[in-house]
């Protein structure tokens, strides 16, 4: 392990069995699976924001959950600060969870409606026994609320989530994570449910987590524009696999995988003088293939697809320092 790696993921897989009902029990057909995450490997460095971008159903949310073992992986290894997460027992996992936390998409659904802001944070403090004594707890909570911009803290202290705006709720979600001073945070679409005018405020907060507290972030989103704003590196996912990964500006200025190219061409630009780009690809994302495909998952939609590669899967190869692509076309 390199010293500055916070997270190392090796060949991570998560297959969900497709239930076939009673008849399936007696049939001789092999069990079928949805390959939500299908052999993903990557690393996250210290103080780095890595973005996972893909369309719905590409497996990015499942992957985020598996990273923290909120969902158990089918196979593969996850090392956080060198510790193999996949082999931890419950108690050790709880210990380790303090170091790796999650910010959820829905700030309305992820906060207990019957607890006030200070109680929500106090729960984190107590579960992980961060400090002793009520006074210490109070001052830690107060400090954290200030860190996430919920000041003056008196105003928010005894409020229930229902009395907060979407942006404020998501700040509580961030505070609950930040108070533990984790090394790694997985944020799954943290701003997609927020009003446009408050989104940037929450993104700035996520950037501050990296810059001021050295927290690494795995940012999961379908929104390429915000990913560009806060990520150091971007991984593009398609059908459970990483098809391209590299430094953000390289991915945006010089995308190599045809799918990445299509994604970037498809994003509307907030400038009326820019003409819409033509989409280089056709069709829709297939329903996550139950049948094992041994060809590039993008084959059907790819404008450069070559017959001779049917039956082969393109490996993720390094085309220039730190920039990896899984495509036969790219040499």
């Amino acid at each position: 392990m390199k010293n500055n790696e916070v997270l190392r993921v090796e060949e991570l897989k998560k297959y969900f069995p497709i239930r076939k009902g009673l008849a399936g029990l007696f049939s001789s057909r092999k069990a079928e699976y949805v390959r939500a995450v299908d052999g993903v490997s990557f690393t996250v460095r210290e103080g780095e924001n890595l973005g996972f971008v893909g369309e719905s159903g590409c497996g990015k949310t499942t992957m985020g959950r598996v990273l923290l073992r909120l969902t158990e992986p089918t196979s593969g290894k996850i090392y956080c600060e060198g510790i193999d997460i996949t082999s931890l027992n419950r108690r050790n996992l709880k210990e380790q969870r303090r170091r790796m936390q999650m910010i959820f998409q829905d700030p309305h659904g992820s906060l207990n409606p019957r607890r006030t802001v200070n109680e929500i944070l106090r729960q984190s403090v107590r579960i992980h026994k961060l400090v002793d004594g009520k006074a210490e707890e109070d001052s830690l909570i107060k400090k954290t609320l200030e860190d996430v911009g919920l000041a003056p803290t008196d105003e928010f202290w005894n409020r229930y989530p229902i009395l907060l705006s979407g942006g404020q709720r998501q700040r509580v979600g961030v505070a609950r994570v930040l108070i533990l001073r984790p090394k790694l945070v997985v944020a799954d679409e943290p701003i997609s449910m927020l009003d446009v005018s408050v989104r940037i405020g929450v993104l700035e907060l996520l950037l501050a987590m990296r810059d001021e507290f050295g927290i690494s972030l795995v940012y999961i989103t379908h929104d390429l524009a915000t990913a560009r704003y806060i990520c150091d590196r971007i991984a593009i996912m398609y059908l459970g696999k990483i098809v391209e990964i590299g430094p953000t500006e390289v991915i945006y200025s010089k995308p190599l995988h045809p799918y990445t190219q299509a994604l970037i061409a498809a994003v509307p630009v907030p400038d009326p003088t820019v003409k819409m780009q033509k989409l280089p690809i056709k069709g829709y994302v297939p329903v996550t293939g139950a049948e094992a495909s041994s060809t590039c998952g993008f084959y059907e939609r790819c404008p450069y697809a070559m017959k001779k590669h049917v039956g082969e899967e393109p490996p993720l190869i390094e085309v220039e320092p730190d920039h990896y692509v899984a495509c036969f076309k790219v040499k």
């Binding site: 005018s197 940037i200 630009v269 829709y284």
Partner: protein
């Protein structure tokens, strides 16, 4: 004269806590062969405003003032029967969330022909043929007319919605957040379809969204709404290049783009107000970096500044 003229429209929701002024003195117009974008955050009243155009506002909401003149007739004074004839034929709408807007137990072909039969005196067979043509038009293909909504993906369902809305050649099409919740590639396909249809049918459109970049790619003119009011209105290109109202400025400055230089984004402090008790004076003043004393007490009128730009701000003289 404009095709649609909305004048001083006021829609309040009468709740137990008091009236919520969802749309408060809003005026805008749509001309023939023009796409007007209505942009604003959730709860700013944009959907309520267009619901009024189709008289979909239901209690506790009520249109308490103003006029909506479409092709010379004030919609607010029409009888229910006249209104029924107008919906779908005169003005059609693509609703937000095609997922729940389609009837799950009726084939899509049937749902399209249902609208046609309602407005045109033709046989069922002719209507079915027309429905199939509509499916061709939106790029689904007539072979799928007998499919049910659950057999389509989200983007395809939204196309079906467009097929239904355009089935009777409406005089005006309203699209409420048509691409929200769709993946970028599907979103792009739908935007291309919208632009194609518009070019083919010369269809005036009101396009509602919270997404600045979607407006930039589809609309000729844009109206920016904030807390139940229009704060700025003008030609899309000039408004994006030179926004005058501090809210439009801040909104554009806070919007990330995937193309071009990566520029510094700036957030807008605070959150949109609750409309039950909106701020006094200019409703944006608590979040405005240029707020002056007059902004707290006096509401700025929406005034013509130069070449057709309307702005409601005390700062601009």
């Amino acid at each position: 004269m404009a095709l649609l003229d909305v004048e001083n429209l006021k829609i309040y929701y009468f709740t137990q806590e008091g009236p919520v002024k969802a749309v408060d003195d809003v005026s805008f117009s749509v001309n023939e062969d023009e796409t007007l974008g209505l942009i604003g955050e959730s709860g700013c009243g944009k959907t309520t405003a267009v619901f009024a155009i189709l008289r979909f506002v239901t209690p506790p909401g009520r249109i308490v003032g103003g006029k909506i003149v479409f092709e010379g007739r004030d919609i607010i004074t029409l009888s229910d029967e006249e209104m029924r004839l107008l919906r779908g034929k005169g003005i059609a709408m693509v609703f937000q969330g095609a997922q729940s807007a389609l009837n799950p137990v009726m084939t899509v072909g049937k749902q399209i022909s249902e609208v046609i039969l309602e407005h045109e005196s033709i046989t069922k067979e002719e209507a079915w043929e027309k429905a199939k043509k509509q499916l061709e038009l939106v790029g689904i293909g007539s072979a799928r007319a007998k499919n049910y909504p659950h057999e389509f993906s989200g983007g395809m369902k939204q196309r079906v919605m467009v097929a239904i809305a355009t089935a009777c050649n409406p005089g005006l099409l309203i699209m409420d957040e048509p691409v929200t919740g769709l993946d970028v590639i599907v979103q792009r396909q739908l935007l291309t379809l919208t632009n194609d249809l518009r070019a083919k049918m010369h269809l005036p459109i009101i396009f509602i969204t919270h997404d600045l970049s979607v407006i930039a790619e589809t609309c000729d003119r844009v109206a920016v709404m904030y807390a139940g009011k229009i704060v700025e209105q003008g030609n899309t290109v000039s408004l994006y290049k030179d926004p005058m109202h501090p809210y439009s400025k801040a909104l554009i400055r806070s919007y990330p783009s995937v193309k071009g230089e990566k520029r510094e984004l700036k957030s807008i402090p605070g959150a949109p107000p609750r409309l039950i008790n909106p701020p006094s004076g200019c409703r944006f003043h608590p979040r405005c970096e240029y707020a002056m004393d007059i902004c707290r007490t006096e509401e700025p009128p929406l005034e013509n500044r130069n070449n057709g730009r309307l702005v409601a701000c005390h700062l601009i003289k």
